[in-house]
Symmetry: D5
Subunit: 142 residues, 10 copies
């Protein structure tokens, strides 16, 4: 179904950013819905399918609660995605220390969480800026 | 040696941010040096070891070109670090599409790259903000 | 250090429940501290080390923010722990559906979370009752 | 066949709890049957298929003795299910000690076993309560 | 400690069968104790250490509740042990069917369980006879 | 083809034991043939297909020399089969020692080998008895 | 689609080098396009499909941004490809040292990168010459 | 011993290229000897140890036939080395086709093989050039 | 296609040895061709397909340069093939030493290589004799 | 202990073949004993230790029944040993068919088994000949 949705998006000529502005959401959030990694509300699904010229099956797919985690191999092989895995290999423990120095023992939520992608123009070569922002969850004692 | 450096930091009472301001670097970059994941220049190493009360061995450790990648298990088990792995499982392919829609076929460099951690105060619970910013590298044809 | 703490507990003759009642915490929470999987406050660490006849090193160990996840093999081999892994293999997807039917798309937090163990006496053989209770975190849209 | 059963349940509009009350069983137990992880008696299967408007094939599927364990990857990637795996990584050994302190050397059965899911309303955010209850099996000597 | 116990057994010249007859147990059960896979009662441990000329440390080792599962690699490499793994690869599913045809849906307990090894003399070559005997545990419904 | 054979057996209403008595073989051996883990002679295959109402294709399947080993995941997830894997994790090295104490350096053959399943009635709960019996093969020197 | 493209190439009788000279590209670059590991521009895709007698579907396949990494098993089994993996096992760390001695701390880009294959005739047996050439990327400090 | 050799090289201030010119070998070949991945002749070992101020133990280490393959994890984590693994993931099958189109069915030897590293100066950023050159070995028929 | 070729061989009643004698090759070499692990010349393929009553598709399959390595799981499960893996586990390092004592540092080629299978009749039980014969390739220095 | 034995052999200047001729065994068999993969009789161990100038500890090591399988990684990385693994990847299934065509359903024993290494002189390059010879074990029916 993801293939159908992506093909419909390709023939519509709409970007993720354009789809997102119709729904009042971020482009990353819409992309996650098309990949079956996030669920849409019935209204969001209806609007999306309208824009993409798709029917009831697509609405049903977009509104269910998906089994998440779409990368088969444990270590991803696609170079773009692997770089993020490598960043954790290299900077994971230092980042853990910096976060805990600022916040105490706990984690950044991956659920109460947003993710933005921006393009930073630069004469030496444009830069990709990716911003993760999640609620800090302190470990509970009991 | 990382243990020695972290113990010296702990007894000095200095934060990563304080160490970093003495070197004119970001706290993440200094944390990566202490974890043996980034190399310092001889001057940076000397200044750091001065601040931490450490000698020549520590300077040599900080200036070598390290073998990077410090997480033994392929899938990390520490909950704080795992959340970043999970984000790639869930949002990896959607993010790849959004980046490529903005930039074309290529990747975000993990080498010509910076990483910042900020605390966003929020009455409903503070938030962790992590900003990745790397040069876009387009695939070359030949 | 975990070995030292467990040996000190063994020679003190105190149970986890007895240690916990001195600290006003649950026995599971105290057991997690001794195993280096949860951090104690300075006062809790001092009281614990007092009860177990241990010194400053133990206090430092108990108050640091640990790297969590203590089971080396990906699939645990100890039969007691494996049973919990098997329960997820068998009941994981059904439980996901039941939780989502009650709560919507999201997860049970493993951080804002408590875990109790009780003994249920039964003439046909006593039963182990394990109660997991974590905050429900709905997926955020943005 | 699981897909057929879940689709029939979706179009019937019945919840697991409603199906379960017709059979005198717990909702988790019925969900496990639909996922092919538990076997129904012929009467239970007949009643279920009646409620869902399904025929003989579905009855045969529900009454066979299944090969259990439905999660392909060794470490699950779905965030809801992963949290339970993480709880065992973090609290597995402490819990083993607490159980053995209460019961002696042995395990909690995953076969003579029940599993309940409850919603605990809480103004700071509702909580998911999951109760595992299994017979204690002491190791036999011979 | 297992090495110490096995070395003591080797210099004592006693077989597992001889040790076992002093304790009123099976030789397999005693061998499992020496390998730290089963726990002895204080009296059993005292008697064993007496026979092997060992002291308090050995008694403590023999009476604790061990973390079980002693084979590091997931697929064992030792040829004697591998053959049992291979038997499950080849006969595992057929045996599951035969057991379920006789008993219904459930398992053979590996906890309420005994294991005997016998030598069957045969002019064409002696045979190893291994008898597994465990309580049948039917799946509970709830 | 295994599915066809098992379906034919199910509709015939014959047990493995009944099929086996027609062929003068053990039920485990017949089950292994149906699962494609053992090869039948042409006469045995013909008789079996006769009893199950199947034709030439089934005879060809039953008489070929199969690629053996039918469990995909390295560590089996089905609880019934996993228990046998766990027994080797816990009792593998002790059993190796007991066998070698009785027989010398060598292995139990998994080829010149039989496997029986029996039901032992017991008022406290019936027991599954599984008997492995294989030729002892001593290591050759040369 | 890769199979269709390779079959069309086979029946056209054209080599990779001949295809490449029509496009003004290297043969390796064209081979990567046919394998779905590199993207073509619309003009390149049109010319290629013209030469191979293929239509719009093939053009669409050649111009998309592919998920890269085509070898399923983590360690490749094909002997030709394995040899390159082995070279990294044997010469990886020495090569890292030599590169860093020449360039400082950083990596060779696999994105801003070319790869050539040449045949070196030699009376003792021809030799395969493979030249990797990628931009050096120094680690950034911040 | 590799650590001793690399430390001696570091304090000697000699580069791999300088060491290599004294032995009439390539710098990569000398680096492989220091990493225990290639064996030196007794004369080469003597000359190297002379230059580095080391004794008999180092000579013995350099002349033995080593167990090769020094990277523990199956997929390397160091970013410099990983890039070569990624190149095979992306270009492995296309390269196999190009080599076989030029040479027929066979492989490039990783034994009768040389490896050179060069620095290519470039105003847009220097480039790393790595040249692999191995004998082509055609598959034998018999 | 391998299945088609093996089925055609089965209905032809010809053994690998008979096929091989028509082609002037060894039976192992012909078996490898049918399994798609070795390539035939156009004449060999034509003759084989003639003998097996197959057409152009089979000729094309037999003459292509295959991706080699046909065993999916890393550790093979079929008992016949596993024994060869076990032999390397047990005798691999000793054999490496014996080969290097006779030949120096290098390997036996698996490409310039032949493999024969013979039956050695023996009153105590026939024996399988497998002969590997490959060119010795010494490591090159440069 | 293996290191001690190999060092003693190195300083004695004796080859495996010379050691073996003193014991009336094959050199491979003696090499396996030194690597702790085969057990020696007390007389063989005494003679070996005499020749190598070693004492009681070495005799005890050589006569125990070892845990076999000495290669840590599942897929071996040493190039000499890997080639044998690759041969099974490429020729494993064809060889299985050829052996079964000659012998029926069964395996070659890896226990009642010998292994010889010979040097075949050849003007085009010497060849390594490795002969495996094991008893054929037919599958038993019961």
């Amino acid at each position: 179904m993801t293939e159908t949705l992506l093909a419909a998006k390709a023939s519509s000529g709409l970007t993720f950013a354009q789809l997102a502005s119709h729904l009042g959401l971020d482009e990353m959030c819409v992309a996650a819905m098309l990949y079956g990694q996030a669920s849409a509300s019935p209204q969001e699904a209806a609007k999306l399918c309208d824009l993409l010229g798709l029917g009831k099956d697509a609405v049903a797919f977009l509104t269910r609660y998906p089994i998440k985690g779409c990368l088969d191999p444990v270590v991803p092989t696609d170079p773009l995605i692997y770089r993020f895995y490598e960043i954790m290999q290299v900077y994971g423990l230092p980042m853990k220390d910096v976060i805990q120095e600022k916040f105490g023992d706990g984690i950044m939520s991956a659920i109460d969480f947003t993710l933005h992608v921006d393009k930073v123009e630069d004469p030496k070569g444009d830069r990709v800026k990716v911003v993760f922002c999640g609620k800090f969850l302190p470990y509970k004692k009991w």
